[in-house]
Protein backbone atom coordinates (compact mmCIF):
# COMPACT_ATOMS: atom_id res chain seq x y z
CA UNK A 1 0.00 0.00 0.00
CA UNK A 2 1.29 3.42 -0.96
CA UNK A 3 -0.06 6.36 1.00
CA UNK A 4 0.43 9.74 -0.61
CA UNK A 5 -0.82 13.19 0.25
CA UNK A 6 -3.82 12.86 -2.05
CA UNK A 7 -4.13 9.18 -2.93
CA UNK A 8 -3.87 5.70 -1.54
CA UNK A 9 -2.61 3.18 -4.10
CA UNK A 10 -2.87 -0.51 -3.31
CA UNK A 11 -3.21 -3.88 -4.99
CA UNK A 12 -6.77 -4.34 -6.20
CA UNK A 13 -8.76 -7.00 -4.37
CA UNK A 14 -11.96 -8.95 -5.07
CA UNK A 15 -13.84 -6.60 -2.72
CA UNK A 16 -13.08 -3.77 -5.16
CA UNK A 17 -15.07 -5.51 -7.90
CA UNK A 18 -18.15 -3.27 -7.79
CA UNK A 19 -16.18 -0.02 -7.62
CA UNK A 20 -13.89 -1.03 -10.48
CA UNK A 21 -16.74 -2.46 -12.54
CA UNK A 22 -18.31 1.01 -12.50
CA UNK A 23 -15.28 2.27 -14.44
CA UNK A 24 -16.30 -0.01 -17.33
CA UNK A 25 -18.88 2.47 -18.55
CA UNK A 26 -19.86 1.55 -22.11
CA UNK A 27 -21.31 5.03 -22.59
CA UNK A 28 -17.84 6.55 -22.67
CA UNK A 29 -15.51 5.01 -25.28
CA UNK A 30 -12.10 4.48 -23.68
CA UNK A 31 -9.00 2.49 -24.52
CA UNK A 32 -9.35 0.99 -21.04
CA UNK A 33 -12.39 -0.95 -22.28
CA UNK A 34 -10.49 -2.64 -25.09
CA UNK A 35 -9.69 -6.29 -24.78
CA UNK A 36 -7.88 -8.62 -27.17
CA UNK A 37 -8.39 -7.63 -30.82
CA UNK A 38 -9.13 -4.10 -29.57
CA UNK A 39 -12.79 -4.88 -29.01
CA UNK A 40 -14.83 -3.07 -26.40
CA UNK A 41 -15.36 -5.50 -23.53
CA UNK A 42 -17.84 -4.94 -20.72
CA UNK A 43 -17.35 -7.56 -18.01
CA UNK A 44 -19.90 -8.44 -15.37
CA UNK A 45 -19.24 -7.70 -11.70
CA UNK A 46 -18.65 -11.42 -11.14
CA UNK A 47 -16.06 -11.52 -13.92
CA UNK A 48 -14.24 -8.53 -12.42
CA UNK A 49 -14.32 -10.20 -8.99
CA UNK A 50 -13.03 -13.46 -10.39
CA UNK A 51 -10.20 -11.65 -12.21
CA UNK A 52 -9.23 -9.72 -9.09
CA UNK A 53 -9.12 -12.99 -7.19
CA UNK A 54 -6.41 -14.34 -9.45
CA UNK A 55 -3.28 -13.17 -7.71
CA UNK A 56 -1.07 -14.40 -10.56
CA UNK A 57 -2.76 -11.82 -12.79
CA UNK A 58 -3.33 -8.99 -10.36
CA UNK A 59 -0.28 -9.01 -8.11
CA UNK A 60 2.05 -6.17 -8.97
CA UNK A 61 0.05 -5.13 -12.03
CA UNK A 62 -3.50 -4.08 -11.07
CA UNK A 63 -3.85 -1.29 -8.51
CA UNK A 64 -6.88 0.41 -7.03
CA UNK A 65 -6.66 4.15 -6.41
CA UNK A 66 -8.50 5.62 -3.43
CA UNK A 67 -8.99 9.28 -2.70
CA UNK A 68 -8.43 10.51 0.84
CA UNK A 69 -12.02 9.74 1.80
CA UNK A 70 -11.36 6.06 1.11
CA UNK A 71 -13.48 5.89 -2.04
CA UNK A 72 -12.05 3.92 -4.96
CA UNK A 73 -11.97 6.59 -7.68
CA UNK A 74 -9.88 4.80 -10.29
CA UNK A 75 -7.28 2.19 -11.06
CA UNK A 76 -3.97 1.80 -12.77
CA UNK A 77 -2.83 -1.31 -14.59
CA UNK A 78 0.48 -2.42 -16.06
CA UNK A 79 -0.47 -4.81 -18.82
CA UNK A 80 2.07 -7.27 -20.18
CA UNK A 81 4.70 -6.42 -17.58
CA UNK A 82 6.52 -9.74 -17.55
CA UNK A 83 10.16 -10.21 -16.74
CA UNK A 84 11.05 -11.04 -20.35
CA UNK A 85 9.31 -7.92 -21.65
CA UNK A 86 11.15 -4.69 -22.01
CA UNK A 87 8.02 -2.57 -21.81
CA UNK A 88 4.49 -2.54 -20.47
CA UNK A 89 1.24 -0.95 -21.49
CA UNK A 90 -0.16 1.26 -18.78
CA UNK A 91 -3.75 2.15 -18.19
CA UNK A 92 -4.80 4.87 -15.77
CA UNK A 93 -8.52 5.34 -15.53
CA UNK A 94 -10.67 7.53 -13.30
CA UNK A 95 -14.42 7.55 -13.02
CA UNK A 96 -14.32 11.33 -13.34
CA UNK A 97 -12.16 12.96 -16.05
CA UNK A 98 -11.44 15.92 -13.77
CA UNK A 99 -9.14 13.69 -11.74
CA UNK A 100 -6.61 13.65 -14.60
CA UNK A 101 -5.76 17.27 -13.86
CA UNK A 102 -5.48 16.72 -10.10
CA UNK A 103 -2.60 16.19 -7.69
CA UNK A 104 -4.03 12.74 -7.04
CA UNK A 105 -3.31 11.77 -10.65
CA UNK A 106 0.22 13.11 -10.36
CA UNK A 107 0.80 10.92 -7.32
CA UNK A 108 -0.43 7.88 -9.23
CA UNK A 109 1.85 8.80 -12.13
CA UNK A 110 4.82 8.96 -9.77
CA UNK A 111 3.88 5.50 -8.50
CA UNK A 112 3.71 4.20 -12.08
CA UNK A 113 7.14 5.67 -12.87
CA UNK A 114 8.69 4.06 -9.83
CA UNK A 115 7.05 0.68 -10.43
CA UNK A 116 7.91 0.54 -14.14
CA UNK A 117 11.34 2.11 -14.32
CA UNK A 118 12.86 1.36 -10.90
CA UNK A 119 11.16 -1.80 -9.59
CA UNK A 120 10.62 -3.55 -12.94
CA UNK A 121 13.51 -1.82 -14.76
CA UNK A 122 11.52 -1.40 -17.95
CA UNK A 123 12.72 0.42 -21.02
CA UNK A 124 9.46 2.10 -21.93
CA UNK A 125 5.81 2.53 -21.11
CA UNK A 126 3.14 2.61 -23.75
CA UNK A 127 -0.44 3.78 -23.46
CA UNK A 128 -3.36 4.05 -25.85
CA UNK A 129 -6.09 6.65 -26.22
CA UNK A 130 -9.26 6.54 -28.23
CA UNK A 131 -9.73 9.78 -30.15
CA UNK A 132 -12.42 10.94 -27.72
CA UNK A 133 -10.21 10.59 -24.60
CA UNK A 134 -8.98 14.15 -24.51
CA UNK A 135 -8.39 14.43 -20.75
CA UNK A 136 -6.32 11.24 -20.59
CA UNK A 137 -4.30 12.19 -23.66
CA UNK A 138 -3.56 15.62 -22.21
CA UNK A 139 -2.48 13.94 -18.95
CA UNK A 140 -0.04 11.68 -20.81
CA UNK A 141 1.32 14.42 -23.09
CA UNK A 142 1.96 16.72 -20.13
CA UNK A 143 4.07 13.97 -18.57
CA UNK A 144 6.42 13.34 -21.43
CA UNK A 145 4.54 10.71 -23.42
CA UNK A 146 5.10 11.21 -27.15
CA UNK A 147 2.79 10.03 -29.88
CA UNK A 148 3.86 7.01 -31.94
CA UNK A 149 1.00 7.57 -34.34
CA UNK A 150 -2.72 7.14 -34.83
CA UNK A 151 -4.33 3.96 -36.11
CA UNK A 152 -7.42 4.96 -38.06
CA UNK A 153 -10.84 3.38 -37.61
CA UNK A 154 -9.44 0.92 -35.11
CA UNK A 155 -12.37 0.61 -32.71
CA UNK A 156 -16.07 0.35 -33.50
CA UNK A 157 -18.49 1.32 -30.77
CA UNK A 158 -21.52 3.57 -30.30
CA UNK A 159 -22.30 3.23 -34.01
CA UNK A 160 -19.07 4.71 -35.30
CA UNK A 161 -15.36 4.12 -35.75
CA UNK A 162 -12.78 5.71 -33.47
CA UNK A 163 -9.07 6.20 -34.04
CA UNK A 164 -6.59 4.78 -31.55
CA UNK A 165 -3.40 6.67 -30.69
CA UNK A 166 -0.30 5.06 -29.17
CA UNK A 167 1.90 7.13 -26.88
CA UNK A 168 5.25 6.15 -25.40
CA UNK A 169 7.38 7.29 -22.49
CA UNK A 170 10.96 6.04 -22.50
CA UNK A 171 12.89 5.21 -19.37
CA UNK A 172 15.32 8.12 -19.68
CA UNK A 173 12.53 10.68 -19.87
CA UNK A 174 10.50 8.92 -17.20
CA UNK A 175 13.36 8.92 -14.70
CA UNK A 176 13.81 12.67 -15.23
CA UNK A 177 10.22 13.14 -14.12
CA UNK A 178 10.52 11.05 -10.98
CA UNK A 179 10.11 13.14 -7.84
CA UNK A 180 10.62 12.15 -4.21
CA UNK A 181 9.46 8.59 -3.56
CA UNK A 182 6.07 8.25 -1.95
CA UNK A 183 5.86 6.97 1.58
CA UNK A 184 5.43 3.21 1.62
CA UNK A 185 3.31 1.98 4.52
CA UNK A 186 4.83 -0.60 6.83
CA UNK A 187 2.12 -3.14 6.13
CA UNK A 188 2.78 -3.12 2.40
CA UNK A 189 0.64 -5.33 0.21
CA UNK A 190 1.46 -3.77 -3.15
Amino acid sequence: MITGEHAVIRSAEPDDAFALWQLYDPGVPRAFLLGPSREVMIPTIDEVREMLGRRDIVMGTFFAVEDKTGEVCGCCVLRGSKSESDYAEIVLVFGNDEHYASNLAEEVFQFILRTAFIDKKMNKLQSHCISSERAYRAFLAARGFESDGVQRDMVYTKGQYFNLESLTLFREEGLKRLKEPLHEAEASTA
Binding site: P36, S37, N123, D148, G149, V150, D153, S166
Partner: protein, 192 residues
Protein backbone atom coordinates in the same frame (compact mmCIF):
# COMPACT_ATOMS: atom_id res chain seq x y z
CA UNK B 1 6.94 -15.29 -58.95
CA UNK B 2 3.51 -16.90 -59.09
CA UNK B 3 2.24 -17.46 -55.57
CA UNK B 4 -0.70 -19.41 -54.28
CA UNK B 5 -1.82 -19.01 -50.69
CA UNK B 6 -3.53 -22.04 -49.22
CA UNK B 7 -4.25 -23.47 -45.79
CA UNK B 8 -1.41 -25.50 -44.30
CA UNK B 9 -1.65 -29.26 -44.58
CA UNK B 10 0.16 -32.27 -43.12
CA UNK B 11 2.45 -32.42 -46.13
CA UNK B 12 3.85 -28.99 -45.13
CA UNK B 13 5.05 -30.23 -41.74
CA UNK B 14 8.67 -30.95 -42.69
CA UNK B 15 9.11 -27.58 -44.37
CA UNK B 16 7.58 -25.69 -41.45
CA UNK B 17 9.71 -27.57 -38.92
CA UNK B 18 12.79 -26.62 -40.97
CA UNK B 19 11.77 -22.97 -40.84
CA UNK B 20 11.71 -23.11 -37.03
CA UNK B 21 15.51 -22.91 -37.20
CA UNK B 22 15.18 -19.38 -38.58
CA UNK B 23 14.92 -16.69 -35.83
CA UNK B 24 12.81 -14.60 -38.22
CA UNK B 25 10.25 -17.40 -38.47
CA UNK B 26 10.08 -17.81 -34.69
CA UNK B 27 9.53 -14.05 -34.39
CA UNK B 28 6.78 -14.31 -37.01
CA UNK B 29 5.05 -16.95 -34.88
CA UNK B 30 5.79 -15.79 -31.35
CA UNK B 31 6.99 -12.20 -31.46
CA UNK B 32 9.97 -11.56 -29.23
CA UNK B 33 9.03 -14.22 -26.71
CA UNK B 34 10.89 -17.43 -27.45
CA UNK B 35 9.05 -20.69 -26.73
CA UNK B 36 10.32 -24.04 -25.64
CA UNK B 37 10.38 -26.84 -28.23
CA UNK B 38 7.34 -28.65 -26.82
CA UNK B 39 5.22 -25.49 -27.03
CA UNK B 40 6.38 -24.91 -30.60
CA UNK B 41 5.55 -28.49 -31.55
CA UNK B 42 1.99 -28.33 -30.29
CA UNK B 43 1.55 -24.91 -31.87
CA UNK B 44 2.70 -26.15 -35.27
CA UNK B 45 0.28 -29.07 -35.09
CA UNK B 46 -2.54 -26.66 -34.26
CA UNK B 47 -1.45 -24.44 -37.13
CA UNK B 48 -1.68 -27.40 -39.51
CA UNK B 49 -5.20 -27.95 -38.24
CA UNK B 50 -6.03 -24.65 -39.92
CA UNK B 51 -8.61 -23.04 -37.62
CA UNK B 52 -9.40 -20.26 -40.09
CA UNK B 53 -12.46 -22.07 -41.37
CA UNK B 54 -14.08 -21.83 -37.95
CA UNK B 55 -16.18 -18.69 -37.62
CA UNK B 56 -15.16 -18.18 -33.98
CA UNK B 57 -11.43 -18.20 -34.76
CA UNK B 58 -9.43 -15.00 -34.40
CA UNK B 59 -6.33 -16.20 -36.23
CA UNK B 60 -5.30 -18.34 -39.14
CA UNK B 61 -2.31 -19.18 -41.30
CA UNK B 62 -1.70 -19.67 -45.00
CA UNK B 63 1.19 -21.34 -46.75
CA UNK B 64 2.60 -19.21 -49.57
CA UNK B 65 3.49 -21.67 -52.30
CA UNK B 66 5.45 -20.73 -55.41
CA UNK B 67 4.29 -22.42 -58.57
CA UNK B 68 7.70 -23.91 -59.28
CA UNK B 69 9.19 -24.29 -55.78
CA UNK B 70 6.46 -25.21 -53.33
CA UNK B 71 6.20 -23.49 -49.92
CA UNK B 72 8.33 -20.34 -49.71
CA UNK B 73 6.65 -18.56 -46.85
CA UNK B 74 3.80 -18.28 -44.44
CA UNK B 75 1.16 -15.59 -44.03
CA UNK B 76 -1.17 -15.05 -41.12
CA UNK B 77 -4.36 -13.31 -40.13
CA UNK B 78 -4.35 -12.34 -36.46
CA UNK B 79 -6.50 -10.42 -34.02
CA UNK B 80 -9.52 -10.88 -36.23
CA UNK B 81 -12.39 -8.84 -34.81
CA UNK B 82 -15.83 -9.22 -36.34
CA UNK B 83 -17.05 -6.36 -34.19
CA UNK B 84 -14.44 -3.91 -35.46
CA UNK B 85 -14.31 -5.69 -38.83
CA UNK B 86 -10.54 -5.56 -38.65
CA UNK B 87 -7.52 -7.80 -38.41
CA UNK B 88 -3.75 -7.78 -38.63
CA UNK B 89 -1.78 -9.63 -41.29
CA UNK B 90 1.85 -10.65 -41.36
CA UNK B 91 4.06 -12.45 -43.82
CA UNK B 92 7.19 -14.57 -43.39
CA UNK B 93 9.54 -15.04 -46.34
CA UNK B 94 11.67 -18.18 -46.12
CA UNK B 95 14.89 -17.01 -47.70
CA UNK B 96 13.12 -15.90 -50.85
CA UNK B 97 15.49 -14.38 -53.38
CA UNK B 98 12.96 -12.03 -54.95
CA UNK B 99 11.73 -10.75 -51.61
CA UNK B 100 10.19 -7.57 -53.00
CA UNK B 101 7.97 -9.46 -55.45
CA UNK B 102 7.22 -12.08 -52.85
CA UNK B 103 6.01 -9.51 -50.32
CA UNK B 104 4.00 -7.71 -53.01
CA UNK B 105 2.23 -10.91 -53.99
CA UNK B 106 1.73 -12.24 -50.47
CA UNK B 107 0.47 -9.00 -48.91
CA UNK B 108 -1.78 -8.34 -51.89
CA UNK B 109 -3.34 -11.79 -51.62
CA UNK B 110 -3.83 -11.42 -47.87
CA UNK B 111 -5.36 -7.94 -48.09
CA UNK B 112 -7.66 -9.06 -50.92
CA UNK B 113 -8.70 -12.04 -48.85
CA UNK B 114 -9.47 -9.84 -45.85
CA UNK B 115 -11.58 -7.39 -47.82
CA UNK B 116 -13.12 -9.59 -50.50
CA UNK B 117 -13.74 -12.76 -48.51
CA UNK B 118 -13.86 -11.78 -44.84
CA UNK B 119 -15.63 -8.50 -45.66
CA UNK B 120 -13.48 -6.48 -43.26
CA UNK B 121 -13.19 -2.71 -42.99
CA UNK B 122 -9.55 -2.38 -41.95
CA UNK B 123 -6.34 -4.40 -42.21
CA UNK B 124 -3.27 -3.67 -40.08
CA UNK B 125 0.30 -4.88 -40.41
CA UNK B 126 3.34 -4.45 -38.19
CA UNK B 127 6.68 -4.66 -39.91
CA UNK B 128 10.28 -4.20 -38.77
CA UNK B 129 11.63 -0.78 -39.74
CA UNK B 130 14.46 -2.52 -41.62
CA UNK B 131 12.21 -4.57 -43.92
CA UNK B 132 12.14 -2.24 -46.92
CA UNK B 133 10.64 -4.84 -49.23
CA UNK B 134 7.60 -5.23 -46.98
CA UNK B 135 7.20 -1.44 -46.62
CA UNK B 136 7.19 -1.01 -50.40
CA UNK B 137 4.71 -3.83 -50.84
CA UNK B 138 2.27 -2.41 -48.30
CA UNK B 139 2.56 1.15 -49.54
CA UNK B 140 2.04 -0.10 -53.10
CA UNK B 141 -1.30 -1.51 -51.97
CA UNK B 142 -2.37 1.86 -50.59
CA UNK B 143 -1.54 1.19 -46.92
CA UNK B 144 -0.46 4.14 -44.80
CA UNK B 145 2.36 4.10 -42.28
CA UNK B 146 0.27 5.18 -39.31
CA UNK B 147 2.66 4.57 -36.45
CA UNK B 148 6.34 4.25 -35.69
CA UNK B 149 6.63 2.18 -32.54
CA UNK B 150 10.06 3.13 -31.26
CA UNK B 151 12.10 0.44 -29.59
CA UNK B 152 9.18 -1.96 -29.80
CA UNK B 153 10.98 -5.07 -30.99
CA UNK B 154 14.18 -6.83 -29.97
CA UNK B 155 16.73 -7.92 -32.57
CA UNK B 156 19.87 -9.60 -31.25
CA UNK B 157 19.16 -8.13 -27.84
CA UNK B 158 18.83 -4.55 -29.06
CA UNK B 159 15.61 -2.55 -29.36
CA UNK B 160 14.41 -1.84 -32.90
CA UNK B 161 11.59 0.22 -34.34
CA UNK B 162 8.43 -1.33 -35.72
CA UNK B 163 6.22 0.36 -38.30
CA UNK B 164 2.47 0.11 -37.98
CA UNK B 165 0.59 0.12 -41.29
CA UNK B 166 -3.13 0.39 -41.82
CA UNK B 167 -5.32 0.21 -44.89
CA UNK B 168 -9.05 0.81 -45.10
CA UNK B 169 -11.24 -0.96 -47.58
CA UNK B 170 -12.02 2.21 -49.54
CA UNK B 171 -8.32 2.96 -49.89
CA UNK B 172 -7.57 -0.51 -51.16
CA UNK B 173 -10.43 -0.37 -53.63
CA UNK B 174 -9.14 2.96 -54.91
CA UNK B 175 -5.58 1.66 -55.24
CA UNK B 176 -6.83 -1.51 -56.88
CA UNK B 177 -8.84 0.48 -59.39
CA UNK B 178 -5.65 2.18 -60.56
CA UNK B 179 -3.79 -1.06 -61.24
CA UNK B 180 -4.25 -3.67 -63.91
CA UNK B 181 -5.51 -6.81 -62.22
CA UNK B 182 -4.93 -8.94 -65.27
CA UNK B 183 -1.34 -9.45 -64.10
CA UNK B 184 -2.26 -10.50 -60.55
CA UNK B 185 0.31 -13.01 -59.37
CA UNK B 186 -1.28 -14.37 -56.22
CA UNK B 187 -4.53 -15.43 -54.72
CA UNK B 188 -5.94 -17.41 -51.85
CA UNK B 189 -7.07 -20.88 -52.78
CA UNK B 190 -10.72 -21.90 -52.56
CA UNK B 191 -11.79 -23.39 -49.26
CA UNK B 192 -9.52 -21.14 -47.20
Amino acid sequence: MKLKLRRPERRDLDVIVDWLGDPAFRRFLYGDNERIKQQMGSHILALLGGAMSMPSSTAGHFVCAAEDRGPVGLASVQDLSWRNRSCAVSVYAAGVVESERFYQSAFRAMVEYCFDELNLHRVSARVDSTNDAAHKALEGLGARREAVLRGHGLRDGSPCDVYGYGILRAEFDAARGQTDDSNATAGVAHGA
